[in-house]
Every structure is written in C-alpha cells, then in structure tokens.
Symmetry: D2
Subunit: 98 residues, 4 copies
C-alpha cells in the first residue's frame, strides 16, 4: 500500500525546565526531514508515505532526550484513506474562515 498519509506528532518531554526549547528541537528534526509539514498549537502534522512519517515521529520523540529530560510521552495520530489524505485537502476550505 502506498497511500499518502498524514501523521500528527506531539512530543511531551517531562522536565521542570524550559520545555519549549526541547519541543523546538523536535520540530527542527521534522523540518529537516524533507516531508511536507504544518506546525500547529498542539502538534506538527507531516505528510508522506506511512514509513517515512513514522520514522520522523520516532526521530522527533528521541530528539527530546536532551539535558535533564528523563521521560518523554509522544502522541501520534495517523490518518489514512484509500486514494490518499493530504494536509491541504483537509484544511484548505477552512483557511479563509480561521
């Protein structure tokens, strides 16, 4: 199967310190992946084949183990449909309203 899928990734590093710099590091990993992406307030969505998207999710998760971070929870949502699912297909009609 080679549908285009979308995968939403939210990393939640456990730290008493500056969580945003840790999250930014994970988003950089996603940005450097070459996959199409959209950063949202509670997760970054990537688009591509399922293998590549999950590889990026895994890399973003692992990128959070920096500094004093000893626990990371990552929430991943896969959306797949026959014929393909794309970021633009799902949000384009709402962009004018938002």
């Amino acid at each position: 199967m080679s549908n285009t899928v979308i995968v939403d990734i939210e990393v939640l590093p456990g730290t008493g310190g500056d969580v945003y710099s840790v999250v930014d590091g994970a988003i950089e990993v996603i940005q450097e992946s070459g996959l199409k992406y959209a950063v949202g307030p509670m997760g970054t969505t990537v688009e591509g084949d399922l293998e590549s998207c999950l590889e990026v999710a895994k890399a973003a998760h692992r990128a959070c183990f920096v500094g004093d971070v000893e626990r990371v929870v990552t929430i991943i949502k896969i959306g797949e449909s026959v014929g393909g699912t794309t970021i633009d297909g799902l949000v384009s009609k709402f962009r004018e309203d938002a």
Copy 2:
C-alpha cells in the same frame, strides 16, 4: 483557576458514508461558539477558559450523531500552564517557516 488554556478537538464519527460532511458540522459548532479557534488537518484547537473549551468539545462530539452515525470517538487534548497558554504563543514563530 482561570488560566487561558488551549484544547484540541478531533471528532471521529464511525460511518461508511461521507465522513467529511459530519466533521464539517462539528467544526461549525466550534466556529459558532465564539471562542478563538484554529482548524488543523487532524483537529481544531480552541482557546479560552477550561469550562468553555470542554463545553464546545462536548457539543462538537454530540453534533456528530447525525444521519447513519451510530458511533463517535472524540480525542481531546488540553494544554494548560500557569500564566496561560495561547494558540498564537505556540505557533507564531513557526508560521513563516511552514
């Protein structure tokens, strides 16, 4: 406590038919709530006090029981921090890159 929180809402109606029209109905409920919101590819994020945000999530969930829909799963993510969490605060710096 009266922090501004953000709440991400993804409704997943179980139907063999046109799922997008059902989801659009739920997004309309969110849009008519008066809360600040941002529509994303895998969820709509609202911003406000926790009570109001959860009321809207509940209403969006219930709005999916239309037509032949007999099952609905809704995923809600609450993000709250002392001092307040806002949609703009979390995504503004990434908007140029995306």
Copy 3:
C-alpha cells in the same frame, strides 16, 4: 442523549520531579468520583454519562497543579455509541488471553 460512554483520561504533568506521585493524585480523584473505572498503563478509563465523565477528567487535570508543576497536558478520548459503550463490553473477551 443519555448513552453510557467511556472516557479515557491520561494526565501528563510537566515536572522535573516525581511525576508518579502527581499522577497518583489525579487517579485518586477519579477513584473517589464514584464512576466505574479501570486503570491502565497509559490512562484511566471511566464509564458513565458524558457530563459526569468529563467533569472527572477536568478534576483529574486540575489535581495535577500541585508542588512545582506549572504545565499539564491531559489527553481525553471519548467513546460513545448508540445503545451504550461499556468497559466490560469492550475488554471482557480479551481478559483470558492477556
């Protein structure tokens, strides 16, 4: 609508300290709610009417703001179907295999 629903609640307090004692406090709030519940490795599922379940989710979320915790993310999953959804109905047949 008065279906019995199930709601899975996972609280994720942001702290560099002992996260388990904070999470245990949230689980106590759920246990004292009077709702039927099942504790799992990545969330506690409650069963009841939608209003009561979301009230408990909100209380569990708020219970995490203790000590040095300044950020909490809570993941809530609602499962509802016409005719009712119950914890036992969903897991009973797998309990012997697990």
Copy 4:
C-alpha cells in the same frame, strides 16, 4: 538507546459496518507479534523496544483496511523513560483497587 518503552495503540477504522470485527483483527496482529501486551477498553498497550512497538502499531493500523473500510485513524502514545517503562511497573499497584 534501548530503553524498554510502552506504546498504546488504538485503531479507529471508518466503516458503517461491524467495527468490532475489524478492531479484533488488529488486536490479533498485536497478539501474534510476540510482544508483551495488555488489552484495554480504548487501546492495546505493547511493551518492548521502540522499533518493534512501532512496527506492530503500523501492522495493526494496516490490518484495518479490510472489507469496505476506506479510512483508518490510529492513535499511538509512546511512553519512554530513562531506565525503562513497563506495563507492570505502571499498573501493578492499582490492580487490587480496580
């Protein structure tokens, strides 16, 4: 890094038909993986190294494309901590109370 992690997998096939038989097929894929697992009301949690757990999540997701199913959303939650995270470690003390 080779921490033992836990990964919670919930598959949500879009169908107007019998969703439970589709979900059961996905749970069978998890059961046959050889990984330790626990079936819960809103997801099945597996335990192992991160690669193996995500491979099983991917296989469970794909197993839902049967019959008339044309859309699948899968929710995955990874929990990892330095020193390892296990299913028993997280739920053992609550089993008597539940």
